[in-house]
Amino acid sequence: MHIVACVKQTPDSAALITVADGRVGWGDAAMVVNPWDEYAIEEAIRLKEKHGGRATAITMGPERARDALKSCIAMGCDGGVLVADAALAGSDARATARVLAAAIQKLGDVDVVIFGKQAIDGDSGIVPLAVARLLGWSPLSYVLQISALDAGARTIEVARLLEEGRQLCSAQLPVVISVVRDINEPRYPTFAGIRRAGTAQIPIWNLGDLGLDELQVGASAVTVAWQAVRAPASRAGAVEILAGDSVAATVSMLADRLQAEKLT
């Protein structure tokens, strides 16, 4: 089995995100592996451990995104590929998916691709589906359990988290999965893993390596454009702290407010 985890480097989830002159900033907050992707990495490593084969991490991003791949290798991935090219700047979800699909095709023997449900910066969750469609593989999103994988029969069974609860599905490999955080508990890197990551050779693939040209990616291929970014209005007004002489009096005040707001 060859399992690929697609990851993105994002600002830390606790970062104070600001906008100045239309540009998004996160101060000196650390760049981390997108938190949702940690579950994808863990699941890729678990599948490899259980079924044999290897786990590869792929990211598209600037040179510093190499650190995200090192985190993946430190956790237990066998290798990583960085897709970097100046022409990729400003890519939308469709262009990103094209690049990742081309990288997966270049690897050649991939059975399962795993993404986190979405990235915590763009927050759209489009890319896993778009990659599946471009590859012509079956998408399985919001997976919270991989209950069976038969490498011989090339089948997989999963539970997906939808609004109504779990939907149970079976599918033929190859598949593109996106996972939610209930699926596993991501492991911490081991000392040996960190050492391996430190010395790992991480190839950089550019557009030419992927057989793509500049007009298919980046700002020139945008179909959805970010026009302007702003901070939301802060929630107006100070909190009204309700405090009666007794708990009963306090909850009566609260019940009055809830009914006055026509909430019940």
């Binding site: 989830s13 910066d121 927050d123 489009i126 469609r133 999103s141 779990r166 009204e240 306090t250």
Partner: protein
């Protein structure tokens, strides 16, 4: 059909439309007035004609239905291929849909077939000149971004549930404007099979809930969720939880509100024993009224709340449940 058509995809599960579908239809009707466009509802799956009639009563001018054995359970491939083939043949100006889990998958896929991508999770829709502008939260709601389509037609837009009002039912202007179409993929060609559901009957979905009562670290353990659940039941709402409570194993992940859980926007959000970490705020900050119940007056949740009670949730919640039960006659 003209280039000006706006299509609304009506999400449904087992023959019943999701409430967010009607919110989307309402928002599309508002947009259609500004763009002088016609709104057509798309209903795929079980009971589609009945749901199409509902769509006409909620303001659609026409409906396209497809009821087929391959569409009984939601799977991306048959739904997306049908939508993409209709889009290719009829060239609507926009396809607007509620951002439920299923529909996010469907729209992301169909948009690729149309050579474009999605403006996902809109909380605002505007017309500037002749262009549609979409406002959507990014960075977990810490920022708002205005996006618009460039070049490619149609626009694919998903709307965040509960961000737009649900329209009133009217007498349908075109009660018979229902067209039936055929599915485009046969079961033999489908590589994903739905083998079952594992759902809890009667549970209110967090995404749809108008009232959510959530518990956090302060509830202290799985049994501590009993008064949280009781208040949710009394108010007819859903029960939520913070990541701390889910990580501790006190309640299942499906209840988690926050950056790595669900994003919700109820009319009323009652946060019980939740400190209000920035990651939790990301999932609930657009709630209309927030009530915080916490022992610690310094907890950040109070800075979001409209009403606060500083006290022991094990005293406050049972008393509030009793009071509300009395007032509501439940």
């Amino acid at each position: 059909m003209t280039q000006q058509d706006i299509w609304v995809y009506i999400d449904q599960h087992q023959g019943a439309a999701m409430s967010a579908s009607w919110e989307t239809l309402g928002a599309a009707c508002e947009l259609s007035t500004l763009l002088q466009a016609k709104v057509t509802a798309l209903v795929f799956g079980v009971n589609s004609e009945f749901i199409a009639r509902e769509a006409l009563a909620y303001g659609a001018s026409a409906a396209i239905c497809c009821d087929d054995a391959t569409l009984v359970d939601f799977r991306v491939e048959p739904f997306a291929s049908l939508l993409a083939s209709l889009v290719a043949a009829r060239q609507p100006r926009a396809v607007i849909a509620p951002a439920t889990a299923r529909v996010r998958e469907l729209i992301a896929t169909a948009a690729i077939d149309a050579g474009t991508t999605v403006m996902a999770d809109a909380i605002g829709l505007e017309v500037q000149g002749d262009a549609v502008q979409v406002t959507r939260p990014v960075y977990a709601g810490k920022l708002l971004c205005t996006v618009s389509g460039v070049g490619a037609q149609p626009l694919f837009i998903t709307l965040r549930p509960r961000a737009f009002p649900k329209p009133a039912v009217q007498v349908a202007q075109f009660p018979d404007a229902i067209e039936h179409v055929q599915a485009v993929i046969a079961e033999d060609a489908l590589r994903v099979k739905v083998t079952g559901y594992d759902t809890v009957a009667g549970q209110v979905s967090l995404t749809d809930a108008s009232i959510i009562v959530s518990g956090g670290r302060g509830v202290g353990g799985p049994d501590g969720f009993a008064p949280v659940r009781e208040l949710a039941t009394v108010l007819g709402g859903a029960m939520g939880a913070s990541r701390a409570a889910v990580d501790a194993g006190w309640v299942p992940y499906a209840h988690q509100v926050g950056q790595t859980g669900k994003t919700v926007a109820p009319d009323l959000y009652v946060a019980c024993g939740i400190s209000g970490a920035i990651q939790h705020q990301a999932g609930m900050r657009t709630s209309k009224i927030i009530v915080a119940i916490n022992k610690d007056r310094e907890a950040p949740i109070f800075s979001l709340a409209k009403y606060g009670v500083v006290g022991d949730l094990f005293e406050v919640l049972p008393a509030l449940s009793t009071e509300m039960r009395k007032r509501l006659g439940r």
